[in-house]
């Protein structure tokens, strides 16, 4: 018989080998082959093969027989199986320690994941733009008497000049800032954030267009909407070619739809219009196209990556200089898109950090929290060393190398870390909604991305290594003869490192608690500082042309209602410090000048805002006839050194102004800075805001409905945007409040984890020293003596940690507070208070654990021997 043809199909044999173990494969394969040959001779190859496969497939029923006969694997795999089994058993045997270990690690890992999510979100800003690494924003550094201010607003001619200045600038684009503008379609009239852009914008920023092309904004009468805005206006019907009225003024045709911008975008708009569409802008273009003195536009440049930006910067630096007033030394510079969000602060014309500092700070805090959790693992593992010592002794005496033991204990810690990681993911999932509302972003775990798993694996490896390496090297160092004799107190060897580790935990915890208190104090301090005006019940409404036209009538109607106590027009929100002007004055014959904040207002300004007049009078409808009268704040008067300010004159923009009143210092700008000198002048024709002082009725919503009804009489808008002064003010605390909240969270976590560790150690110590306690008790010690004896160890560590942490945290927080010029000095009681609280918590935890041992009947623990 031909040998080739007598062989059953190879695939079948291979399958069969999978089904049966080595021992039984041979005879089964023989049986099947015998039958195959019989069928081959009777029915031919095809049928025989088919039957063979049938037999093989049905044989899969016997796969269960294989396991029963499985031999214990030997060699490396067997060893690993054994490690796994022993590790699992020791976890199960010591349930409470395992729980503390795993839970502590889970909390540590979960908190570092939460931090990482936030950090990653902050880093992801603007990265969704396809050409984010090509795009730069133009910034202008203006030197104001030695202080360099960095501005985003540019004059229009730079838009073209930039392209000509350096051939590496591929293209440029100009935008207005984003304004809330009313968009109207049929009866629907909503205020939306609208940005006017030049035609390059869509292409340059790679805006994701669902409908339309990069030329959708070429027609001056076009508008491109975001998906959600389009849905809001048109529902499911096709928005393309529909007409939308903007600012109740002129109509634009919808020519495209773009995908809504994600949260992590520096730009924020619901609609884009061509810069040429804006009638006003159009006039401005005509007016200022060649004017180098109007600064209102954002200018962006596209530069292929790899171009030496410093060279381009050198070429464009002086573009504005010839057109600028002398003495300001204006310099242009480019900032890469990737840095817009995190490096937003400029000092002396150079990037000087910004949000990146908080990102770094919290990355460190996340690392510290994880470290505290790792230290718990180390301490609890080594504290239990006696229980594992015999195992190590036996392993060593039957031939384990030290390296193998290191691997064993490292694997064990990886195993525990993996479990902890799984629980951590669960914890993160559960706490995400609360965390999202805390940080104010929508964060989520992205299980689909390889980056997440890579990061998760890295987290497991690092945590496993950090937590496991000390126990691994400690355990593997035991000498088999000594541990097997059982005479050596191995705990002693681990005392010093353990003390150091627990002290470290305490230092971190104390530091975070002090930080939490200080930041809270600082926030309260700033929030309660004198504002110079009355913040409550003050509401601000942005003007449009209709409101401006009917201002007098609106004011009269408003004042007639019972809910309004005062109305005034201003050129800026009450807490805005963005407009500055040089003021010159004559002091003893010499002219001095300085930059003052310029406020524009009209009659009833001080009355509506609730600002105290210290000397002189307010603008008066009877006396004030022109804009030569100004009010000055106290700081300004102090700066100018006028003894009798009323009636003095100063020069502003070359025109003489007469001081008619001195008002209290109004806090404008950052609440963390001192009040700057400011003057208030009568409004010209640019009316921007109506300010309304509501009477104290206790029913804000009701009052606002009445106010709204009056506005609706005079405008065609359905909704009108308003802002409360106290809400605006609260906005300025967002960053520091976020830091405060996160500091609270992590201080709490640090105390919790440290407490958990102390709990575990105390429980262990108490258990270990049960016999000693019993003997002491028999010899006459009281329960109080015993508790003091055992808690001594932890109390001393806590006190020592206070000694280290106190100066450290004082220094760190004082440095942090230096960022704010209006700040507290760290209250003296923070450190003693924190120490007492920490000590109290420690004693509480230790006492509850030791109490059991101290109160137990000594007979019970002594009768065993």
């Amino acid at each position: 018989m031909n040998k080739e043809s007598s062989q059953p199909p190879k695939l079948g044999i291979w399958l069969l080998r999978k089904i049966y173990d080595e021992d039984r494969f041979d005879d089964v394969a023989g049986d099947l082959q015998e039958m195959y040959i019989d069928r081959l001779q009777a029915h031919g190859k095809r049928i025989a093969s088919l039957y063979y496969f049938k037999d093989v497939i049905l044989s899969s029923r016997n796969i269960g027989l294989k396991r029963k006969k499985q031999v214990i694997p030997t060699g490396r795999r067997g060893l690993f199986n054994n490690y796994f089994k022993i590790g699992l058993r020791s976890l199960v045997r010591n349930k409470s320690y395992s729980f503390i270990n795993i839970f502590g690690l889970s909390v540590g890992i979960a908190s570092s994941i939460l931090i990482l999510l936030w950090v990653q979100f902050e880093y992801s800003y603007d990265r969704f733009f396809p050409r984010h690494d090509h795009i730069y924003q133009l910034k202008l550094n203006v030197n104001n008497n030695g202080i360099v201010a960095t501005e985003d607003n540019m004059c229009l001619p730079v838009y073209m000049a930039l392209r000509n200045a350096d051939s590496r600038v591929k293209t440029t684009c100009v935008t207005t800032p984003t304004y809330g503008r009313s968009l109207k379609y049929k009866n629907k009239d909503v205020e939306k954030e609208v940005m006017a852009v030049s035609t390059e914008f869509l292409e340059m920023f790679g805006i994701h267009l669902v409908v339309g092309t990069t030329h959708s904004l070429d027609d001056p009468h076009s508008i491109v909407l975001s998906e959600s805005t389009a849905r809001e206006f048109f529902g499911d019907s096709d928005p393309i070619n529909q007409l939308i009225k903007i600012n109740h003024d002129w109509e634009l045709k919808v020519t495209g739809i773009f995908k809504d911008l994600p949260e992590n975008s520096t730009f924020w708009f619901h609609a884009l219009i061509p810069i040429s569409a804006d009638a006003k802008t159009d006039q401005w273009l005509a007016l200022y196209g060649n004017h180098w003195d109007s600064y209102a536009w954002g200018i962006y440049a596209e530069i292929p990556p790899g171009s030496p930006i410093y060279q381009i910067n050198a070429n464009i630096k002086d573009l504005i200089k010839p057109h600028f007033d002398d003495g300001y030394n204006p310099e242009l510079t480019l900032q890469a898109m990737d840095r817009w969000h995190l490096y937003e602060t400029f000092v002396n014309g150079k990037e000087a950090g910004g949000k990146i500092e908080y990102v770094r700070l919290f990355t460190w805090i996340g690392v510290l929290t994880l470290l505290i959790a790792c230290i718990n693992y180390m301490n609890l593992s080594t504290a239990r060393s006696e229980k594992r010592a015999k195992e190590v002794g036996i392993r060593k005496s039957i031939g384990s190398h030290r390296s193998e033991l290191v691997v064993q204990f490292l694997l064990e810690s990886f195993f525990v870390t993996c479990i902890a990681f799984a629980i951590a993911i669960l914890l993160v999932k559960l706490s995400l909604p609360a965390y999202d509302s805390l940080v104010g972003n929508r964060l989520d775990l992205d299980f689909g991305s390889p980056g997440f798993w890579l990061l998760g694996a890295a987290l497991i490896v690092i945590t496993g290594l950090v937590a496991g390496c000390y126990p691994a090297f400690y355990f593997s160092s035991f000498l088999p003869v000594k541990v097997l004799k059982g005479k050596v107190q191995i705990g002693k060897n681990a005392m010093l490192p353990r003390k150091v580790l627990v002290t470290t935990q305490y230092v971190f915890a104390i530091f975070l608690v002090i930080g939490m208190i200080v930041i809270y104090q600082q926030i309260q301090h700033v929030k309660s500082r004198a504002l110079g005006y009355q913040q409550e019940n003050l509401v601000m409404i942005a003007c449009n042309e209709e409101i401006e036209k009917n201002y007098r009538a609106i004011k009269n109607e408003l004042l007639k209602t019972a809910v309004v106590a005062g109305v005034t027009l201003t050129g800026q929100p009450i807490d805005h410090d963005g407009w500055n002007e040089f003021v010159e004055w004559n002091r003893n014959g010499t002219y001095e000048k300085a930059i003052f904040i310029r406020c524009m207002a009209e009659y009833d300004y001080t009355k509506t805002m609730g600002i105290k007049i210290l000397e002189g009078r307010d603008f008066s409808e009877e006396i004030t006839r022109d804009s030569t009268e100004v009010l000055m704040n106290q700081t300004a008067i102090r700066l100018m050194g006028f003894k009798d300010p009323i009636g003095q004159t100063v020069k502003i923009r070359g025109r003489e102004r007469r001081i008619v009143g001195v008002i209290a210092d109004v806090l404008m700008g950052s609440p963390f800075d001192p009040v700057k000198p400011a003057f208030v002048a009568m409004l010209g024709d640019a009316h921007l805001h109506i300010n309304i002082r509501l009477s104290k009725t206790g029913d804000l919503a009701g009052s606002m409905t009445k106010v709204g009804a009056i506005f609706k009489k005079f405008t065609s808008a359905n909704e009108f945007g308003y802002q409360f002064a106290d809400e605006r003010f609260a906005d300025k605390f967002r960053t520091i409040e976020l830091i405060g909240k996160l500091a609270n969270l992590f201080a709490f976590l640090a105390i919790f984890l440290t407490g958990l560790g102390v709990f575990g150690l105390a429980a262990y110590t108490a258990e270990q020293r049960t016999k000693e306690m019993a003997i002491r008790k028999v010899l006459g010690a009281t329960a109080r003596n015993l508790i003091l004896l055992l808690s001594n160890y932890f109390t001393r560590i806590a006190l020592f940690a206070v000694v280290i942490a106190a100066p450290l945290s004082w220094w760190a927080l004082d440095t942090y507070l230096k960022n704010y010029s209006y700040r507290i000095s760290i209250p003296w009681w923070t450190i003693p208070l924190t120490s007492v609280v920490i000590l109290f918590i420690t004693l509480l935890i230790v006492t509850t654990q030791v109490m059991k041992a101290a109160l137990a009947n000594p007979v019970n623990s002594l009768k065993g021997e």
Binding site: M1, S6, Q7, R24, D26, D27, V28, A29, G30, D31, L32, Q33, E34, M35, I37, K54, D55, L58, S59, S60, R61, N62, L65, K68
Partner: protein, 113 residues
């Protein structure tokens, strides 16, 4: 050791192995089963029963008889152990005992019907 009770098919296999003496292996057992009991089973079922019986200690096996036809692979010859015989006998006894009660039952049944 697994439980000592036997399934119907297992008992059948055990009896057949016993009837073959020392020359019983899966293929011939399957063929015999088809001839004698007119039952068509897959070879894997035969293997399954034999190995289970072996694990329960009712059968022992030895290797032998590698042929060219089997691709040089050995046959596994099964033989009934004394424990196997005991179980067979017990099962037989039990059945006879049960059989002896049948007439009464049958009469009772008739009455009832």
């Amino acid at each position: 050791m697994k439980g000592a009770n036997l399934g119907e098919f297992e008992e059948l296999m055990l009896l057949m192995v016993a009837s073959f003496g020392t020359e019983a292996y899966a293929v011939v057992l399957k063929a015999e089963l088809e001839q004698q009991a007119d039952r068509s089973v897959n070879i894997s079922a035969v293997h399954s029963a034999l190995y289970r019986l072996e694990d329960k200690g009712f059968l022992t096996s030895r290797f032998g008889g590698a042929t060219q036809k089997r691709g040089g692979k050995k046959k596994r010859y099964f033989q009934v152990t004394s424990a196997g015989f005991e179980t067979l006998k017990e099962s037989k006894k039990l059945k006879e005992q049960l059989w002896s009660t049948i007439p009464q039952l049958a009469m009772n049944l008739k009455f009832k019907i």
